[in-house]
């Protein structure tokens, strides 16, 4: 008697809504020459790519420094339904999907530790202030 070979799953089929080539795939991220359009005559324009990479690096560094500067500072989150909550900022995850905060002041009490989902904010305007420094507003891209 013979047995059919087992398979873990079936091959994934096409996405009906798009043409694929996921820009978040490992290969795309590693090989894609950033936003230089494929209509350029040469395969890569190394000068433009270099400049764009430098600008991106600077922006990434600036963003990371902002996050570091906010650590342990009091911040205010503006959320849906005109909810505003204060908390002590802890950290962001790598994809900026969640924020780890402490002493979250909510309308129903203080949450010692909490994770705020970045998607659940209509607009994030984090007001960072500290007893010794004047308040600075740090708009985030949303």
């Amino acid at each position: 008697m013979s047995t059919l070979v087992t398979v873990l799953r079936l091959p994934r089929g096409p996405d009906p809504n798009g043409r694929g080539f996921d820009p978040n795939s490992t290969r795309f991220v590693a090989l894609c020459p950033t936003t230089i359009s494929a209509s350029t005559e040469t395969w890569t324009d190394s000068v433009e790519v270099g400049e764009e990479q430098r600008a991106r690096s600077a922006l990434r560094e600036s963003f990371l420094r902002t996050l570091i500067a906010m650590t342990n500072k009091q911040v205010q989150f503006h959320m849906y339904e005109r909810v505003e909550v204060e908390a002590k900022f802890g950290a962001s995850d790598i994809d900026v999907l969640n924020f780890q905060v402490s002493e979250l002041q909510t309308p129903i009490g203080v949450q010692k530790e909490a994770l705020l989902r970045a998607k659940h904010r209509k607009m994030l305007l984090m007001t960072v202030y500290d007893a010794d420094d004047p308040p600075i507003e740090l708009p985030t891209d949303d």
Binding site: M1, S2, T3, L4, V5, T6, V7, L8, R9, L10, P11, R12, G13, P14, D15, R19, G20, F21, D22, P23, S25, T26, R27, F28, A30, L31, C32, S37, A38
Partner: protein, 331 residues
């Protein structure tokens, strides 16, 4: 216990699949491109068949498709009288090369710097992809539509098969014919194996193997049905073939013995190719599907899982998918 082949069906195309090609082995695995009469060639992960993307742009049936070794570029040949070059990472169209008739075949050189095209205008063209606006080098001689044109001998020569029932070997620089094979009927497919310089040609029910440099015949094997495509395993121990009777056949290359045959497709098999690691082979059919078949049936690879007999009755066993295929295994 004997294991029965479970082919993996890759759906998505809406018309017959007429050509397919694998890339080389890259740091991200290997990839598979399929040409389809629906005009939308697709890129898939080679070992799982998972769809990665669809190259959108052709306005007619796509007759030929290929990838470069690194799977960073793709090229397609279509009935809209164009060959197109694509970025195989982003899916973007990079180049459109206008022809005067249906284009049937496309092939990159090893370094991806040049593209060979051939089609119904009977002319082989060589495009320098670093100078795409320049006129291509043209090679004339065939008296009927070209089915396939391939680089060979370290990209110094070109092999072409046409409906004039000839296979010709050309020198790239002189554009002259070096050697020619004539047949009683049209060649249905051609595969070139650089390692060992082997040429696999199919015509009628015959699968023929030639030395690609001298065009000396090595051997021929006859199948039970008319064959549309065949592929030799990288280790040159097996070859597979498919054609009119919808089945896939597996033969021993050394003894020429038919080892196995598998049903599964619901239409004639138009193309079949071994993966670069030889662990599986892919077939494309009139039924609009691609199927992936294991070379060593039952081995854990890709989406196939080797399950020991005691695991089959375990409550914790993974979901088992079975196709409705009814494979015939020759003892």
């Amino acid at each position: 216990m004997a294991m029965r082949q479970t082919p993996l069906t890759c759906s998505g195309h809406t018309r017959p699949v007429v050509d397919l090609a694998f890339s080389g082995i890259t740091p991200y695995g290997y990839f598979l491109i399929s040409a389809c009469k629906d005009g939308k060639p697709m890129l898939r992960q080679g070992d799982t068949g998972d769809w990665i993307g669809t190259f959108l742009g052709h306005k007619g049936a796509v007759w030929g498709a290929t990838l470069n070794n690194e799977a960073t570029k793709a090229a397609t040949a279509a009935a809209d009288f164009t060959a197109k070059v694509w970025d195989a990472v982003t899916g973007d169209e990079v180049l459109t090369l206008a022809h005067k008739h249906i284009v049937k075949s496309v092939n990159f050189t090893q370094d991806s710097s040049c593209l060979l095209t051939g089609g119904n205008d009977k002319i082989i063209r060589i495009y320098d992809l670093n100078k795409p606006e320049a006129e291509p080098q043209e090679i004339t001689g065939h008296t009927s539509a070209i089915k396939k044109a391939l680089w060979c001998n370290n990209d110094t020569q070109i092999l072409s098969a046409a409906d004039d029932k000839t296979v010709r070997l050309w020198d790239r620089n002189s554009t002259e014919v070096v050697k020619q094979l004539s047949f009683d009927m049209s060649v249905s497919s051609m595969e070139y194996i650089p390692d060992g310089e082997v040429l696999v040609i199919t015509y009628g029910k015959t699968i023929a193997f030639y030395n690609a440099l001298s065009l000396d015949m090595i051997k021929t094997v006859d199948a039970p049905a008319s064959i549309h495509s065949a592929s030799l395993h990288p280790d040159k121990d097996f070859f597979v073939a498919g054609g009119d009777d919808f089945k896939l056949y597996k033969f021993d290359y050394g003894t020429k013995e038919e080892l196995e045959s598998y049903k599964g497709h619901f239409g004639p098999v138009h193309c079949v190719r071994f993966s670069p690691d030889g662990e599986l082979y892919a077939s494309g059919s009139e039924d609009g599907t691609l199927r992936l078949w294991q070379t060593a049936v039952g081995k854990t690879y890709g989406l196939w899982k080797c399950v020991l007999p005691e695991e089959l009755v375990s409550e914790n066993s993974d979901t088992i998918y079975c196709t409705t295929a009814a494979p015939e295994i020759k003892a």
